[in-house]
Structure formats: C-alpha cells, structure tokens
C-alpha cells in the first residue's frame, strides 16, 4: 500500500468498507428479527422460505454461501449444454466413459446402440428392457417406485406431522406436501379426459376395492371400503376419527373443493420412504401401488443437491427444493408420491400431465407462488382422479 501511494490506500479502505456494509446487510436480512414491517405482511410461504435459510445460515457458512448460488439457472444451463447433439463418432466412447464413472448398466438398455442417443440428456433419460425390472406381485405390497438407495424409512408422527430427514433433522409433511388452505396457490383442472375408459376404471375400482364416485361425477366422500379378507368390512365397524384424519384433511382434500372430508379406516398409520437416485441410475419412476391420483401440487423451489451428504446436513432441504407432490388414495387410505428435483435434474416429467413444466425461469419479482395445484377429478368421473396401476411408468427426471 505504501509503495502504491495514497490512492491505493483509498481503494483498500473503500473495498473493506463496502464488504463490511454488505456483510451486515446480508446478516440482518437473514436474522429473523431483522425482518422489516413489510415482511410481516408477506405470506407464510415467504416466511417459510426464509426460516430454513436462517437455519442454513445458523447451521453453517458453507450452506449459507451455497444457498446464495443461482442453482436454478445453473441447472437450466446444465440441461442446455447436455442437450447439444454430439458427433456420432464421439457418442460410443463418451457414453461408455460416463457409464464407467457413474456405474450405468449398459446391458439392460432398450436400445443398446449408443450412436442412437444424440446427446447426454437422451442417454440419461434412456429406457430399459421391460423385463429388466420384474414387478413384485403381492396384492398388499408396495414396490420401489425407482432404482436408487433407500435413505430413510419410518413412521410419520401424527401429532407433529414431522418426517425424519435423518436422525435429529426433520421437516414437516404439511410444508412438504402442502395443505389445501395454504396461501398463494394457483389452481387448475387437468384437461386429461379418460371418460372413454370408464368400463376399465370400473374393473380397476372393483379389483382394488375402491368406492366409485356417484355417476354424476360428484366426489363421493373419500371413504375407502377395505374388505378385510374373511371378516366384516371396515364399513360395518364405523371408523373412529383418529389423530391422523386431521392431518390428512389438511394435506389432501379440501372439503368445499374436492368433496367431503377424508374418512379413514381405523388403526392406520402414516409411513414414509425416501429413495435417492444416483447419476448412473435408471431415472424413470413408476407407480408403487394401484392408486388414484387426485391432486398434483408443483412447488417451484430451489434446486439444491439432494446427495446423501446434503440430506444429512442441510435442514429443510426437501421443503426448499423444487418438487411435484402427487396426492390421492390407495386401498388402505391416503397415498402420495413426490419426485424431488436437484441441481443436475431440475426437470420432473409426468407422462399423464403434459401441462406440468418444472425448472422454468421465474419472472423477477413475481409473487413466488407457494404451489401450482392441478386436480384430476375430471380424468375419470367414477374414480374422481387418475387411475395408476402398480409398475406403470409415471414419468422421470431429466437433465437441466
């Protein structure tokens, strides 16, 4: 500084001052009591978003800096780069190199000729031979919806509605799946119309003991008639409203929008399972059971990595990330399946919902919708939703 003379000292002083001021502003904006009066009017969703960030900040500088990165833009760029067509001569050894690095099983691919995949995005979203994944039969069994690694399984505490991310770290099922009364929801009706298949749906309902909605298409009450083999049906033993029912009504079906409140058969519990897909895994997901999907809630969020390290250390990761919650019911009651995006795979695709677009550039300063909700009630009048059979391919994760 001495050698550079007075103006370089001035430069250093200004730079240091600006850094301190910026750091203070960022710290204050992250601390809960630093929120201004205007913030108080913000919807819960904004508070909800800020709360986890505060936790991130309190948690660790690394996560704080990481959470300021433009991950959604990086993800879109990643997708665009990987959608550039590769020269044919480059494809075989390029995809073999990727397969070696990430443990891709090339033998099970539906189209084994690597030159047919024009870019990495297509190769990433490859199909496998139908018989490569036999579907476990069991009428009462739930199958794995995708390849991957089981990160967490367990029971959801009906009182708190909390799901364990890992030991000691939890997130709320209400925040994760959304509730019908949450602020800033934009609702739409899916335009899918399966009415011509009604006969098939009647068979589907009979096989799975689903109660049909009345022919006029009004939502009958969501009472799942479960025939217990041999002894009396649950219907005869009127279900008592257990603690779970309040949570389920909050989560899934808005009485004045989608029909009567959710009644449930007795002695049930809420379970959860978290499956992480590694970059080399087959990235399509399938239906784990025979069920009827009634609502889709798309939460445009961040795209943090969901690698096991982040799941172990990043609080509220699943509540912050972009995700598509599919809610409905199966023969034993409420059922939901939620694909959660990540930095490299921001695009979540649903085969039966072409209107769904994830990881799109959001208009600056637009009110951050808590979620975009679509209902499938008109997909099948008698079922009141989208019938999905066990093992059926529902969609997948695409690069970018």
């Amino acid at each position: 500084a001495h050698a550079g003379g007075p103006n370089s000292v001035m430069k250093w002083a200004v730079l240091t001052g600006v850094t301190i001021v910026l750091g203070t502003i960022i710290l204050r904006s992250q601390s809960p009591n630093g929120s201004s009066r205007a913030d108080e009017e913000e919807g819960d969703s904004a508070k909800l978003k800020r709360k986890p960030r505060v936790q991130i900040f309190n948690n660790d500088w690394i996560f704080f800096c990481y959470s300021t990165l433009p991950l959604n833009a990086i993800s879109r760029l990643w997708g665009q780069v990987n959608s550039l067509d590769l020269p044919v001569w480059m494809r075989p050894w390029g995809f073999k190199c990727y397969s070696y690095l990430f443990g891709v099983n090339l033998d099970e691919m539906e189209d084994p000729d690597l030159r047919h995949y024009s870019n990495l995005s297509e190769f990433f979203y490859r199909n496998i031979q139908p018989n490569a994944r036999p579907i476990y039969p069991g009428h009462n069994a739930i199958i794995c919806p995708s390849d991957g690694k089981v990160l967490q399984i367990g029971i959801i505490d009906s009182d708190s509605g909390e799901i364990e991310q890992v030991k000691g770290l939890t997130y709320s099922i209400r925040d994760f799946l959304g509730t019908h009364s949450q602020p800033s929801v934009s609702r739409s009706q899916s335009t899918v119309d399966l009415v011509p298949d009604e006969e098939k749906h009647k068979e589907f309902a009979r096989v799975n003991n689903f109660r049909l909605s009345d022919p006029s298409g009004n939502e009958s009450e969501h009472y799942i008639e479960v025939k217990n083999e041999g002894d009396k049906t649950v219907e005869e033993s009127k279900p008592t409203m257990s603690k779970t029912v309040g949570l389920l009504n909050e989560l899934s079906l808005n009485p004045d929008l989608y029909g009567k409140p959710y009644n449930e058969p007795k002695d049930t519990q809420l379970f959860f399972a978290v499956i992480y897909l590694a970059p080399g895994d087959y990235h399509h997901f399938h239906s784990p059971v025979n069920w009827v999907c009634k609502i889709r809630r798309h939460f445009p969020g961040d795209l943090f990595s969901v690698a096991p390290y982040f799941q172990r250390n990043f609080p509220n990761l699943f509540v912050l990330n972009e995700r598509v919650a599919l809610l409905g019911n199966w023969k034993h009651g409420f059922f939901s399946m939620t694909p959660v995006g990540a930095t490299n795979v921001g695009s979540i695709k649903l085969n039966f919902d072409k209107e769904l677009k994830t990881n799109v550039k959001r208009k600056r300063h637009s009110e951050p919708h808590a979620c975009y909700e679509a209902t499938y009630g008109n997909a099948s009048r008698i079922l009141g939703g989208m019938p999905l059979t066990k093992g059926e391919e529902l969609g997948g994760f695409m690069l970018g």
């Binding site: 994944r133 036999p134 579907i135 476990y136 069991g138 009462n140 069994a141 739930i142 199958i143 794995c144 919806p145 995708s146 390849d147 991957g148 690694k149 089981v150 990160l151 967490q152 399984i153 959801i156 799901i163 099922i173 994760f176 799946l177 779970t244 449930e264 058969p265 002695d267 049930t268 519990q269 809420l270 379970f271 959860f272 399972a273 978290v274 499956i275 992480y276 897909l277 087959y282 997901f285 399938h286 784990p288 059971v289 969901v306 799941q311 699943f318 199966w330 034993h332 009651g333 409420f334 059922f335 939901s336 399946m337 939620t338 694909p339 959660v340 990540a342 795979v345 093992g391 994760f397």
Partner: protein, 32 residues
C-alpha cells in the same frame, strides 16, 4: 434426484428394506 413416498397403511405394514439398501424399481418395499 429423490422420490419420497408418504402413505397411510394399517399398523401391520412392515418395510422389507432398511436405510442404506440399494433397490431396483419393482422390488418389494414393504407389505401389509
């Protein structure tokens, strides 16, 4: 990417996998 299942089932439901298991689509996750 991650897939999260949250579902209601009778208390007799048992998971057939445990944390850390590698799974394939179509494999039994659990049964009532």
């Amino acid at each position: 990417s991650t897939v999260v299942l949250c579902f209601e089932a009778p208390k007799s439901f048992k998971f057939k996998v445990k944390d850390g298991d590698k799974v394939k689509m179509g494999q039994e996750l659990g049964t009532v």
